[in-house]
């Protein structure tokens, strides 16, 4: 009794102080929770639920039509074993790898850097023109861009055939993979170019000039000054480009995965399986595999980035 009558003043002194430390708005947990609840609910409905739903679907034989559409049955890991033993899946994964390396890592990154490097000393309308053109490819909606490419590569009336004088050449049938790789480079290079442009402009000119003063060649300046200075940007660029290219679906609008599955990269393969193929359960399982691959890629980059920071 006596102690309880003594403690309140002390308690009153410490209580507000503690509240101030972790409760900046002074709302208290319950009311604060109420404020963020709508956001949490929306995230739950549109992000969490589909994800969980996909996991569940991946373990059923759910189909778009037929008996299983009405009452899907739980099949455990059957979908996964089916996907992982299907040569079509592995073929698709292989195509995706080629696609990511050629159009994303090599194509967009190198060409984007090359463009940023070449326009860094240009000023005025020439620079504006080049940047405008590259950026245009980026801002044009994918559906429009794919249509442009269809017109470009058309067998009979295509611009490329008219320019090269190769009338009747069916680019999309004879070289479908090359076509979607070029298409994706064309669409996505602007991002790398802009990222590298800003990275290059942040390299202190005096460092480059120091290298010049001791007679370093252009290549040596690149190796010893530029690249070390923009390492972080290179890493970020590669991560984003890899993930985007890995997940992109727009090549479907150019080749529809064909001919004969020759351009059936993973995203297209999932679509072909789930929608026209009607095997929603299997599609969901492959989606989850794709998600896991994404996670592995992202974690790999985080590792590299952390190792870099530690050194």
């Amino acid at each position: 009794m006596t102690s309880s009558t003594v403690t309140p003043p002390a308690g009153r002194v410490t209580a507000p102080r503690r509240r101030r430390a972790d409760d900046v708005a002074g709302l208290g947990k319950a009311r604060a929770g109420l404020f963020v609840a709508p956001a949490l609910i929306i995230i739950g409905i549109f992000l969490l639920f589909p994800a969980v739903w996909t996991v569940w679907l991946g373990m059923t034989d759910y189909r778009l039509t037929g008996l299983q559409a009405a009452s899907p049955e739980f099949v455990g890991l059957e979908n996964y074993t089916e996907a992982l033993t299907d040569p079509a899946f592995w073929n698709s994964l292989w195509l995706t790898l080629i696609f990511v390396v050629a159009s994303g890592i090599v194509g967009q990154t190198l060409i984007g850097f090359g463009l940023a490097w070449s326009v860094r000393n240009i000023t005025g309308w020439v620079k504006a023109l080049i940047e405008g053109l590259v950026l245009a490819a980026w801002v044009i909606p994918a559906s429009v861009a794919s249509f442009l490419w269809l017109a470009l590569l058309d067998r009979r009336t295509g611009t490329v055939n008219a320019l090269l004088g190769t009338e009747g050449a069916a680019w999309l049938i004879d070289h479908p993979m090359e076509a979607i790789i070029l298409f994706n480079i064309w669409v996505g290079t602007a991002f790398s170019m802009q990222l590298f442009s800003s990275a290059l402009s942040a390299v202190p000119p005096s460092q480059i000039e120091s290298a010049k003063m001791v007679g370093a060649s252009g290549w040596q300046q690149l190796r010893d000054v530029i690249v070390p200075n923009i390492k972080g940007h290179i890493l970020t660029n590669t991560l984003l480009i890899t993930l985007w290219t890995f997940n992109t679906f727009t090549p479907y609008l150019v080749t529809a995965g064909g001919p004969n599955g020759k351009t059936e990269i993973l995203s297209v393969y999932i679509y072909e399986t789930a929608i026209p193929g009607g095997q929603l359960g299997l599609g969901a399982a492959i989606s989850l595999i794709m998600l896991l691959i994404n996670l592995v890629i992202a974690l790999g980059y985080v590792r590299v980035a952390q190792g870099r920071r530690k050194r």
Partner: protein, 357 residues
């Protein structure tokens, strides 16, 4: 080792600004040479033209006995220390210093050895493995110097090498720089806008203004015999008093007072000519009793400079600065006389601003 000769050197930037305008300068072998001038006068531009980092618009540049007007920076035998030091943040101190040797394809062990030796010479022992980000400003500056001298260049260029250091460290680094230059005997050109630094360090100084050379001379010459009123006003910790005056009956009318013409100028002026009379505050005495050649004056402002006091006096309608020893410090409002030291007075043409005599 090599001298530098610039002839009618012009550097015009796109847009027509002439950073360097028809500069003729000859820098001798082994000389410690300062480029001095106010901000924007073209010091950096001239230095960068010598380095080869700016393409020369016209004129010629010879280093040693080679014409390098259009040569690449790397083949001029010139090393440069930038104002921000420009150290490579991703290399340790040793690799930074050894970088020029790496470009010259010296083997790693050998160049690390040289770097260590050079670092020792610049009191950087024990810092070889550190990154530039882990060094103080003064240490970074010495690393930049070490990198510049590691290849034994013929010419060393320094762009405001001391401006990033605090006042005390700057004095230390100043001495250090002077010793280093003497030891190496390397022809050194350094840019500064601090006239005290130029006077203290340089064998000779070139004063620039708006891209043009105003005067080249030893510190003593530019201090005692400035070519024109601009140099007179720029050099010296207290600017020279420059007062409009008129020649009258072989004397000089300065406001209400008259003073004698500076020695040696009597034959060079004509009656009624408008001139500028110059006298440094240090060469004027403040006296409380009238004497020959004294001008009556009243103290308006007193500034304490430590060992001396700078006072501003009104002599008639003219204002003058006078440096007074601390124990003779007057109070504002005091009346007395000022006595210019005649042999130290200078005369400038009011129209051309050039020195007379």
């Amino acid at each position: 080792m090599a001298g530098i000769t610039a002839t009618q050197l012009v550097k015009e930037y796109p847009g027509g600004v002439r950073g360097v305008d028809e500069v003729d300068v000859e820098i001798r072998d082994g000389e410690f040479f300062a480029l001095l001038g106010p901000s924007g006068c073209g010091k950096t531009t001239l230095l960068r033209s010598i380095a080869g980092l700016e393409a020369i618009t016209s004129g010629s540049l010879v280093i040693g006995d080679r014409d390098v007007t259009n040569a690449e920076p790397g083949v001029r035998g010139v090393a440069m220390v930038f104002q921000d030091y420009a150290l490579f943040p991703h290399m340790d101190v040793g690799d930074n210093i050894a970088y020029p040797l790496r470009i010259k394809r010296v083997k790693r062990d050998e160049r690390r050895g040289t770097a260590a030796k050079v670092a020792d010479g610049l009191s950087l022992q024990g810092l070889i493995e550190r990154r530039p980000g882990q060094l103080s400003g003064g240490q970074q500056q010495r690393v930049a110097l070490a990198r510049a001298v590691a290849t034994r260049p013929d010419v060393l260029l320094l762009d405001e090498p001391l401006s990033n250091l605090d006042a005390r460290l700057r004095l230390e680094a100043r001495t250090f720089l002077k010793e280093l230059q003497r030891d190496l005997g390397v022809t050194t050109v350094f840019v500064t806008h601090d006239q005290a630094e130029a006077l203290a360090l340089a064998d000779r100084i070139a004063v620039m203004r708006a891209g043009k050379l105003q005067q080249i001379g030893t510190p003593r010459e530019v201090f005692q015999r400035p070519n024109n009123t601009f140099v007179a006003g720029f050099i010296g910790s207290n600017p020279m008093n420059l007062l409009p005056a008129q020649v009258r009956e072989s004397r000089l009318a300065v406001g209400d007072a008259t003073v004698s013409l500076p020695p040696g100028t009597e034959q060079l002026v004509r009656e009624g000519q408008d001139v500028v009379w110059g006298i440094r505050p240090e060469y004027v005495r403040w006296v409380t009793a009238e004497e020959a050649g004294a001008i009556p004056a009243e103290v308006s402002v007193v500034e304490n400079l430590g060992a001396s006091v700078l006072i501003v006096v009104n002599a008639g309608d003219r204002k003058l600065q006078v440096a007074v020893p601390e124990d003779q410090e007057p109070a504002p409002g005091d009346r007395g006389w000022i006595v210019p030291q005649l042999s130290k007075t200078l005369l400038f043409d009011a129209e051309t601003t050039e020195r007379i005599g």
